[in-house]
């Protein structure tokens, strides 16, 4: 039953609204609404009850192991939430004078400094509200850089075929043509193809390292050299920064611009699909183009740098300065871990991934890149199993739900058939990983003995498998009374 179906006409939560309708008004009749909007008329208690119960229908990090590759589902410390929601922080208006927000701005400035250090970049802007927006900013800066140099010929962005879909989509949004290059069988970018692709039209290369295949691009320095020599710039998609935090700095790998998904590496909550935050870091040559505002610290005072201070900036990407509350959570998280904790993130994310990979291999699963170390994630392919039994990666994923585990990422990266991209993250214990292996072993046995049961999973969830095709075909996206 939807919230609307709990409603009764005329019901009102008197505590939550002014005691009566104000009457003073200077609005012409023709601008006034004629009929009330369809908002539910439900009591406060029933609203609380409804949304509390509804929440219980979600899997989440706080309730289940969630080894979703490429998403870094790790513990979101509760302290980050509590402290970012201190009443004074919540109450502060974004346009309140800077001298009424020195405490907040100090956090933002320090976060910028910390992010610069861990990425090896020259400067950081916190404004971006999501990874995809970070990419947009990054590629826009690449474009601005070339334009400022009067180099109008560069119309292409090179993207490996293993990249997140956001990479090519972003390049197109920035007016570029996408040149896709293939991956070799070891999971690395095909260097010959890269060499063939670069040239005077190359504006830049977008690279995720470790890649979405869960392996470190060993020849990244050479790639950097090739692209730079051709006059292009290097973009670092920070989606997998968790795998190398404190171990390798993107700046040292030769990247000119990077976005960092704070909701991944820096453990801000995913919130059922946002809000994220994805600060952007740049090497020196892109410094003038960074989006504003940026926090500066001058003469003991924090202040915003704006277009006035940064005349070449690509401008603003959000109405204020980005997702401040998310940034606060990330700030608190890095302060909790500190310099001595940064590299532990990647170490234990990597340990967990390699251990789980080893255990699943022993259990009989096929690893897509068996000769490689896993980064913080790795790929199992169900290709052989599917051909033999008809059970797909998605079937296995749904069956895992029955066993109390969220499924890994399925069918991404698209170049590995029937793949499961598995990322345990560093906050999971060996016991949890072991119990996941047991569940995977059980399913492997079920596939042999009762494949139809696996194919029709889930069975233990409140709902059986949902019909995606029907959803798209008989589109019902707004409830009608």
């Amino acid at each position: 039953m939807l919230i609307f179906e709990h409603a009764r006409k005329g019901r009102l939560n008197y505590s939550q609204a002014p005691a009566k309708r104000a009457v003073k008004r200077n609005i012409p009749e023709n601008l006034l609404r004629k009929s009330a909007p369809l908002l539910p008329e439900v009591s406060e208690m029933d609203t609380v009850r409804y949304y509390t119960r509804l929440s219980q229908k979600n899997f989440s990090i706080d309730t289940e192991f969630y080894p979703l590759g490429s998403c870094t589902m790790k513990y979101n410390p509760r302290a980050c939430n509590a402290l970012a929601m201190l009443p004074q922080f919540l109450a502060r208006h974004p346009l309140a004078p800077e001298d009424t927000g020195q405490g907040f701005l100090a956090c933002m400035y320090e976060l910028q400094e910390i992010l610069k250090d861990v990425t090896g970049m020259e400067a950081v802007s916190l404004t971006s509200m999501a990874g995809a927006q970070g990419e947009l900013i990054g590629v826009t800066m690449i474009r601005a850089y070339h334009e400022a140099r009067g180099d109008a010929e560069r119309t292409e962005i090179i993207v490996p075929d293993a990249a997140h879909g956001t990479n090519p989509a972003t390049a197109v949004m920035c007016g570029y043509k996408v040149v896709e290059i293939p991956t070799d069988k070891e999971g690395d970018v095909d260097m010959a193809a890269l060499k063939a692709a670069v040239g005077p039209k190359t504006a830049g290369l977008m690279l995720t390292n470790p890649s979405t295949l869960g392996v470190f691009e060993k020849k990244v320095s050479e790639m950097s050299r090739i692209v730079h020599e051709a006059g292009g710039l290097l973009y670092y998609d920070g989606a997998n920064l968790n795998a190398v935090l404190g171990k390798v700095k993107p700046g040292d790998m030769g990247f000119d611009v990077i976005h960092m998904n704070l909701h991944k590496t820096f453990s801000t909550p995913h919130g059922g699909g946002g809000p994220g935050a994805a600060p952007v870091g740049v090497a020196k040559r892109l410094l003038p183009y960074l989006p504003v505002p940026i926090v500066a610290y001058e003469n003991g005072v924090y202040r915003w740098l704006t277009e006035k201070d940064r005349p070449q900036t690509i401008g603003r990407l959000s109405a204020h300065m980005g997702n401040a509350g998310v940034l606060l959570r990330a700030y608190i998280y890095v302060r909790l871990l500190g310099s001595e904790g940064m590299h532990r993130i990647s170490e234990f994310a990597t340990l967990n991934a390699n251990y789980l990979m080893a255990e699943l291999r022993k259990a009989g699963f096929e690893i897509a890149y068996p000769t490689r170390r896993a980064s913080h994630e790795f790929i199992v392919t169900m290709k052989e199993i599917k051909e033999r039994t008809g059970v797909t990666a998605m079937n296995l994923a749904k069956r895992l739900l029955d066993k109390g585990f969220h499924a890994p990422t399925t069918y991404f990266p698209i170049l590995v058939p029937e793949c499961l991209l598995i990322e345990p993250a560093e906050t999971e214990s060996k016991e949890t990983i072991d119990s996941f292996v047991v569940a995977m072993e059980e399913i492997l046995a079920e596939i042999e003995t009762q494949p139809d049961m696996v194919k029709s999973a889930p069975h233990q969830m409140p709902l059986r498998k949902l019909d995606d095709v029907k959803a798209a075909r008989e589109l019902d996206i707004v409830w009608k009374p």
Binding site: L31, S60, A79, P275, G315, D476, I477
Partner: protein, 453 residues
């Protein structure tokens, strides 16, 4: 090791299973010359106790002010239930609902959100949110250009929030889209329909129509919408969701209604929080749905014919369509929308109306009182919603500084964005302000005007 549960025994057993000697060995594919040295600007770790104290001290340093600034972010009462439920782990720490069967909580809620927003805006459909109001407007502009096919020109009145205009420019510029700004009428603060024709001589994809506009002023939305349609262009509404409880929704503007409605969702239960996270909303007519970016939730059935919810129309999105996607957008602002949905459920249609009407009345009352002060007058003569521009007899900065020293943030100076307006102040009053608050404002304002500085 904060947040890392491994014991020494665990580490040994895991390395043994992997067949590695040390954790460091697991990084052996990373070329040695790339390995990072020490971090120099990350401070040492803190305990939760220490960071709690630090953050509490910083919060206290920032303190509380009686706030009369609006300008795109509005202070409203947020029922305690909203965030107590929203921060439940099941909402707070879940991912995008890719596995629908394990995500019905979020999915069902988002479907309800879409329904509420479609109805509030008077449109056919809504997506599941975008980053914020400004970027939502940029996406609407791109959407209009895709739909129009022949023109890459967008008309934006200068009565649209100045930063929204900046954001639109920053985002659409890459795609060689031209943004044409339309000046406003100095007397009314409105975009006058009768003065538009010069901008319509060349083809354009869409006209943006703010309601209320950045000055708080109500635009002649019917005429503006009809004019855009008369030019075979789209009408994009930028609206305040609280105001929609009182004002004609975009879907009913003019003869056919606006085509796309976007706006900042923050007033619906999201704390001001120095500017974010907020959320942008976007609703549109049925025929534009496949041009709409962002997540969309659909109702369907399961194997047993039970009703349930899934992400739908994913073929528009980047993770399926890659370089051919409608946008590079990958997330929505799920948690914010969770809060907004609970907020709208708690206040209901009558509650939201009262909140809007009280905000409106409070603003009228304050403006009336201030107008009685010597040299103070309304800058514009048109009706306004819950914000108004006032012309002052002395520099606004001085007045604001003086009030701030007494704990009151008196509004926003318009000088930076509208130098032609001179000493003006944009002041906003919501339902959170009492009669005493208004009196206090007037008193401090009067004092500030009276002092020589």
């Amino acid at each position: 090791m904060p947040f890392i549960p491994h014991t020494e025994e665990d580490i040994e057993a895991m390395l043994a299973s992997i067949g590695a000697e040390s954790i460091d060995e697991l990084f052996d594919e990373i070329p040695a010359d790339l390995r990072t040295g020490t971090l120099t600007r990350v401070p040492p770790g803190m305990s939760e106790m220490e960071i709690t104290r630090l953050m509490s001290e910083r919060a206290q340093e920032d303190g509380f002010y009686l706030n009369f600034i609006g300008a795109g972010a509005y202070e409203h009462h947020i029922p305690a239930a909203v965030w107590q439920i929203t921060t439940r782990g099941e909402y707070y720490s879940s991912y995008t609902p890719y596995q629908a069967e394990a995500s019905q909580g979020t999915l069902q809620l988002l479907y309800e959100y879409q329904t509420m927003m479609a109805s509030l805006t008077g449109m056919d459909v809504s997506n599941a949110s975008l980053y914020d109001g400004a970027s939502a407007l940029a996406e609407a502009a791109l959407m209009a250009v895709r739909q129009h096919r022949t023109s890459r020109r967008i008309l934006i009145p200068q009565t649209v929030h100045p930063i929204y205009r900046s954001v639109v420019r920053a985002i659409v510029k890459n795609q060689a889209i031209e943004v044409v700004e339309i000046p406003y009428d100095q007397a009314s603060g409105q975009t006058l329909p009768e003065q538009l024709d010069q901008y319509g001589q060349e083809e354009f994809a869409a006209l943006v129509i703010p309601q209320p506009n950045f000055f708080g002023v109500l635009e002649q939305v019917d005429a503006l919408t009809d004019w855009a349609h008369s030019k075979q262009s789209l009408a994009i509404a930028v609206v305040n969701p609280t105001a929609l409880a009182m004002l004609t929704p975009p879907g009913e503007w003019g003869k056919q209604g606006a085509d796309i409605a976007v706006g900042e969702g923050q007033p619906l239960g999201i704390p001001l929080s120095s500017g974010g996270p907020y959320f942008g909303f976007m609703a549109c007519k049925q025929q534009l749905i496949r041009q709409m970016p962002g997540r969309i939730i659909g109702r369907t059935t399961d194997l047993n014919n039970q009703e349930g919810f899934v992400l739908t129309l994913q073929a528009r999105e980047q993770h399926i369509r890659r370089s051919k996607a409608t946008s590079n957008i990958c997330t929505n602002q799920g948690l914010m929308v969770t809060a907004a949905t609970i907020y709208m459920s708690l206040v209901g249609p009558e509650g939201l109306y009262r909140i809007a009407a009280q905000s409106h009345e409070n603003t009228l009352s304050l403006v009336e009182k201030l107008e009685k002060l010597p040299g103070v007058e309304k800058t514009f003569n048109a009706p306004f919603f819950h914000e108004a521009v006032l012309s002052l007899p002395k520099p606004a900065a001085q007045v604001l500084d003086s009030m701030k020293a007494q704990g009151v943030l008196g509004g926003l100076r318009l000088e930076e964005h509208y130098p032609e307006l001179g000493n003006t102040l944009l002041v906003c009053v919501t339902e959170t302000k009492t009669a005493d608050d208004l009196d206090k404002y007037v008193e401090l304002f009067g004092q500030a005007l009276a002092t020589n500085a």
